[in-house]
């Protein structure tokens, strides 16, 4: 989740209350306080609430939550003559564009930082790293409408932001820092998305970089927004969040015509919500009036529209409201989670342990009784530990991870004994004897199965110890087994046996081969046992 920095001075001015009150209530409107600094507080908001990714948005929510100003904010949009044409060549590249004009805004440094912050957050959360949505904010007075959004050739040149020379689109993609970060989104497309004005001045090369010409400064008074992308709903969400934020910051919104469509539409969506079903879900007994009051605190427009219904106007920036329950959640937040009494239901049910877990508990009891200490190694391992060091061929049933994050975790374990040996290596300086065991999941042929392994190391650890321990284990499990001379290369020839249960090989025990001990860098003899629980307990 992106971290939003809220400078106290700006926040206090917009909220109309002191920082102490604000910080105290921040977690209760749904945020994680990252750190409290001298000049600002850094918070994380949930990805669903993009409208809170600016100081203006937080202030709007906070004023409502604290009851300083409730109900919906009205966002008037007046018409303008500004228009865009959209090139049909972009239909398979980046077909959607949203735009609006913000007039008479005075941006101080803090407002500009806030604007850049929400842009970044929208790029990340809604825009999926600019692939789905990218945003440009321009100084409108530097360019001349109408604008056109079209597919340009790579040889087209302009001065990109933070540069003082003309570059062509190829150069920007290769050399500009933003080009290197985002060129993968449009690379290999036949034409590049570009926005220019009536005089051929470039405003933006979405989703990569704006032109230096329209850079927004504290002197900028009138802004043009461009939001481009591959998903119309996401484009409109980002546009609405931006417009409402800038209106809250003091701007006036004017519409723009895109291929004849007038936008932005900042009107709320109306829903009739059911009071009884809200109460049923939350376990509350609110009246329609109370529910409407709470929703007003959450900055909805809300009035009782019947004994059992509230008419709710959902602000256009609340893209997260998809379902009635999303409104109910805001009722719970607005009422305060602390005011909802936690209460256990009367649902009756008898507890029941899972048979595999029950079996694991029994195995633990037996192993502990035999003097073994439990360990809990990772389930992800690698070829080297699992097979090479064990002098074994890789198990053909092994499951490999497609894109490992390191050489340490390239596959899901098929055996447990190698992991016990690896733990003995890590503990070689600890007091002997060491007797350890583990029981848990392995994956064989895409099936999650269970195994048990034990290892004992000390100067006298040998085949006899492994045999005696296996014998005790099988006796405690009430199982009949047959030892059969084993050729497992992890063990010393003539000092290992396969465990045969019901005619099937269910495991192996014996004295670990010194070659294996060398590979694991273990200095003392090791007696080891491994059992496949799915085989020994198969009917």
């Amino acid at each position: 989740m992106p971290v939003v920095s809220l400078p106290y001075k700006y926040l206090e001015r917009l909220c109309g209350t002191d920082r102490k009150t604000i910080i105290e209530h921040l977690p209760m409107i749904g945020s994680d306080i990252e750190r409290i600094l001298d000049e600002q507080v850094d918070v994380e908001f949930f990805p669903s609430r993009v409208d809170l990714y600016s100081t203006e948005g937080v202030a709007r929510a906070m004023r409502g939550f604290l009851g300083l100003e409730t109900g919906e904010e009205i966002y008037p949009v007046t018409p303008s003559s500004i228009s865009f044409s959209v090139d049909p060549n972009l239909i398979d590249i980046r077909p959607y564009i949203g735009s609006a004009v913000i007039r008479d805004i005075s941006l101080d440094n803090e407002a500009i930082i806030s604007l850049m912050g929400i842009q970044e957050a929208l790029h990340w959360v809604v825009g999926r790293g600019r692939a789905k949505v990218a945003i440009g904010v321009h100084d409108l007075d530097k360019v001349t409408p109408p604008f056109r959004y079209y597919g340009a050739l790579l040889t087209r040149t302009f001065v990109p932001l933070d540069y003082d020379r003309e570059m062509n689109l190829s150069e920007i993609m290769e050399e500009h820092p933003k080009g290197r970060d985002y060129s993968h989104i449009v690379k290999d497309k036949p034409v590049m998305p570009l926005i220019e004005d009536a005089n051929g001045n470039v405003l933006s090369f979405p989703p990569i970089i704006n032109g230096e010409l329209t850079r927004v400064t504290e002197a900028s008074k009138n802004l043009l927004l461009d939001v481009t992308g591959t998903d119309e709903r996401a484009v409109m969400t980002a546009l609405k969040v931006l417009c409402t934020t800038l209106i809250t910051a003091g701007g006036k919104c004017e519409s723009v015509s895109i291929n004849g469509v007038i936008m932005p539409d900042l009107s709320p969506e109306t829903r009739e919500v059911n009071v009884a079903s809200c109460n049923k879900l939350l376990g509350t007994s609110l009246s329609a009036e109370e529910m409407a009051d709470i929703l007003q605190k959450m900055r909805y427009g809300a009035e009782k529209s019947g004994d059992n219904t509230v008419s709710v106007r959902i602000p256009c920036y609340r893209a997260d409201i998809m379902h009635e329950w999303d409104v109910y959640e805001d009722v719970a937040i607005g009422a305060g989670f602390g005011s909802l009494n936690a209460e256990l239901p009367e649902t009756f049910a008898a507890g029941c342990e899972h048979p595999i877990m029950k079996r694991a508990s029994v195995l633990r009891d037996i192993c502990c009784g035999l003097g073994y200490l439990e360990v809990m190694p990772f389930t992800l391992s690698n070829e080297d530990v699992m097979y090479t060091r064990m002098q074994r061929e890789p198990d053909p049933r092994v499951l490999r991870v497609l894109h490992p994050i390191s050489e340490e975790q390239t596959l899901v374990r098929t055996d447990l004994l190698p992991l016990l040996l690896d733990l003995l290596r890590m503990n070689k300086r600890r007091e002997l004897p060491q007797r350890i065991f583990h029981t848990g999941d392995v994956v064989l042929d895409m099936q999650t199965c269970q195994k048990l392994a034990l290892a004992s190391t000390h100067p006298g650890a040998d085949f006899s110890e492994a045999y005696a321990t296996t014998d005790a284990l099988m006796r405690e499990l009430g199982l009949v087994y047959l030892p059969q001379e084993s050729t497992d290369p992890a063990f010393i020839p003539g000092r290992a046996a396969d465990i045969i249960v019901n005619g099937k090989k269910a495991g192996v025990f014996g004295e670990i081969h010194p070659g294996v001990l060398n590979r694991f860098d273990i200095d003392q003899p090791v007696a080891g046992i491994e059992l496949d629980l799915n085989i020994i307990f198969s009917p």
Binding site: D231, L402, H403, V443
Partner: protein, 477 residues
């Protein structure tokens, strides 16, 4: 008062002689002098005797000193090697010329005139010569000189004097039993009754025993078992399932949008192969695209069945919960699972690519959000966290969502898991008509808090000493 046999024997000897030294008495007691000192020390701790420690220093000749004791000091030997005078050149041929000439001059035995050494008189013995023959009588400055010239060394001698006290005499007067003590009791001695006439040696309880390390359940597993026990006690059925899941159950069935970054290769371990979609998958598609027949708008856009067929290592045990619900759509359902989950993260002290997650679900006709808070509170209190509070949370598959926090001394409010009511978009495709309360918890995070760990790896790559030292009983049952 408890005395060992040796202490008793020493005390009885002291009664006879009053005061003695270890050297005098060692033969009688048949013990080395050091042992006698030790017994005396034990008696003195009980005020039965006093042990006086006297340190004396004695001077003795070094090897070089001994040689000169017989042959005379170098200056004397040199003096006697010539008559009244000699040239320096001749004198230099003598083995002691270098050291002897200087001393002869300093002692005034000779003077040097135009390259010749001339005797001045009869060379009276110097103090060094005198005291070399009787070291014990040497004054302090001569001793220092002898040590400086390497002719003698100083040695410290510690002598002990042991005397009986009045208390010791009184105790001895009451009579002391000196019969032999027995160490190991044999079967014969037990059955024959011989033990009745034997004194069994007492052990020193102040001596620490050799450590014995029992076999035991790992502290982390013990905590997991405690959580399992709590949930079983609260009437939950335990789930267990495959760690390999289709993206359908891991993400899509939980209303995770298909372009959510958590689904990508960067965050989730992808595996080769495709998983078949279950019967009824179309309803999940409709939910994503348009909200199906609920009041939801869905995410919009196209839902791609191929994406849902991808195979992953489960990123949460919620994939098991939803499959359990899909198979048990009628109330009531109370189920939980504690299992390993996987995230594609590099290993560091607080991040691991695999860790345990706990998850509980409750489905019933009239359960509410308040009931969810009730379950959370009950569970955390049973886990030993006394203060629990709730704040808003967000998860794609729950609404309302909540993040429980517990209060921990020195840390303040700590977020411990997430919870909520499964969205209708999640439950409706499976014909579930009543609310499903759900909560999840990072088990390893609780372990860190409970065991005071700073590095999560300790749980999975344990130092055996840490496991050995960690008490089995953590203060609660």
């Amino acid at each position: 008062m408890q005395l060992t046999l040796n202490e008793k024997r020493l005390l009885l000897e002291l009664v006879k002689v009053g005061t003695t030294t270890p050297e005098e008495i060692m033969a009688t007691l048949d013990r080395p002098a050091e042992s006698v000192v030790q017994y005396g020390g034990l008696l003195s701790q009980k005020d039965l005797a006093t042990v006086e420690r006297n340190v004396t220093t004695t001077l003795s000749l070094t090897e070089e000193g001994s040689r000169y004791f017989c042959e005379g000091l170098p200056e004397r030997q040199l003096y006697q090697s010539f008559k009244d005078s000699s040239s320096i050149a001749d004198l230099n041929k003598h083995p002691h010329a270098k050291i002897g000439l200087g001393w002869m001059k300093r002692l005034g035995w000779v003077k040097i005139e135009s390259g010749n050494v001339i005797k001045t008189g009869d060379a009276a013995p110097s103090p060094l010569e005198v005291y070399l023959k009787s070291l014990d009588n040497a004054p302090a400055d001569i001793k220092k000189e002898l040590i400086k010239r390497g002719l003698a060394t100083e040695e410290e001698t510690v002598r002990y004097v042991i005397s009986i006290t009045e208390k010791g005499r009184k105790l001895a007067a009451t009579g002391i039993n000196l019969s032999e003590e027995t160490g190991t009791l044999t079967a014969d001695q037990i059955s024959s009754g011989a033990w009745k006439d034997m004194t069994l040696r007492r052990y020193d309880i102040n001596k620490h025993p050799r450590p014995v390390w029992p076999g035991k359940i790992h502290p982390y597993q013990r905590m997991i078992d405690e959580m399992r026990r709590i949930l079983l006690d609260m009437g939950f059925t335990e789930l267990h399932g495959s760690i390999i899941q289709g993206a359908f159950w891991n993400f899509d069935a939980l209303f995770q949008p298909q372009d959510h970054p958590a689904r990508e290769m960067q965050d989730t371990f992808h595996l080769a192969g495709k998983q078949d979609l279950p019967i009824g998958w179309e309803k999940v598609r409709d939910m994503h695209e348009s909200g199906g027949d609920t009041s939801s708008s869905g995410w919009g856009g196209k839902w791609d069945p191929e994406k849902a067929k991808a195979t992953v290592l489960r990123t949460h045990t919620t994939s098991l919960s939803i499959q359990h619900l899909a198979g048990h759509s009628k109330p009531p359902v109370k189920a939980f699972c504690i299992g390993r989950v996987y995230r594609r993260e590099a290993i560091d002290p607080t991040h691991l690519p695999e860790f345990e997650q706990l998850e509980g679900i409750v489905m019933d006709d009239n359960v509410t959000f308040r009931n969810l808070l009730g379950f959370l509170k009950e569970f955390y209190i049973r886990m030993g966290f006394e203060s629990v509070r709730f704040r808003p949370g967000y998860f794609p598959y729950t609404e309302p969502s909540v993040e429980p926090e517990v209060y921990i001394e020195e840390l303040g409010w700590v977020e411990l898991g997430g919870a909520g009511i499964f969205r209708e978009e999640v439950t409706t495709p499976w014909g579930i008509t009543c609310p499903v309360l759900a909560w999840g918890l990072g088990v390893s995070r609780v372990a860190m808090l409970r065991m005071g760990l700073t590095d999560l790896r300790q749980l999975y790559q344990s130092d055996i000493d840490w496991v050995r030292q960690m008490p089995t009983y953590g203060g609660r049952c």
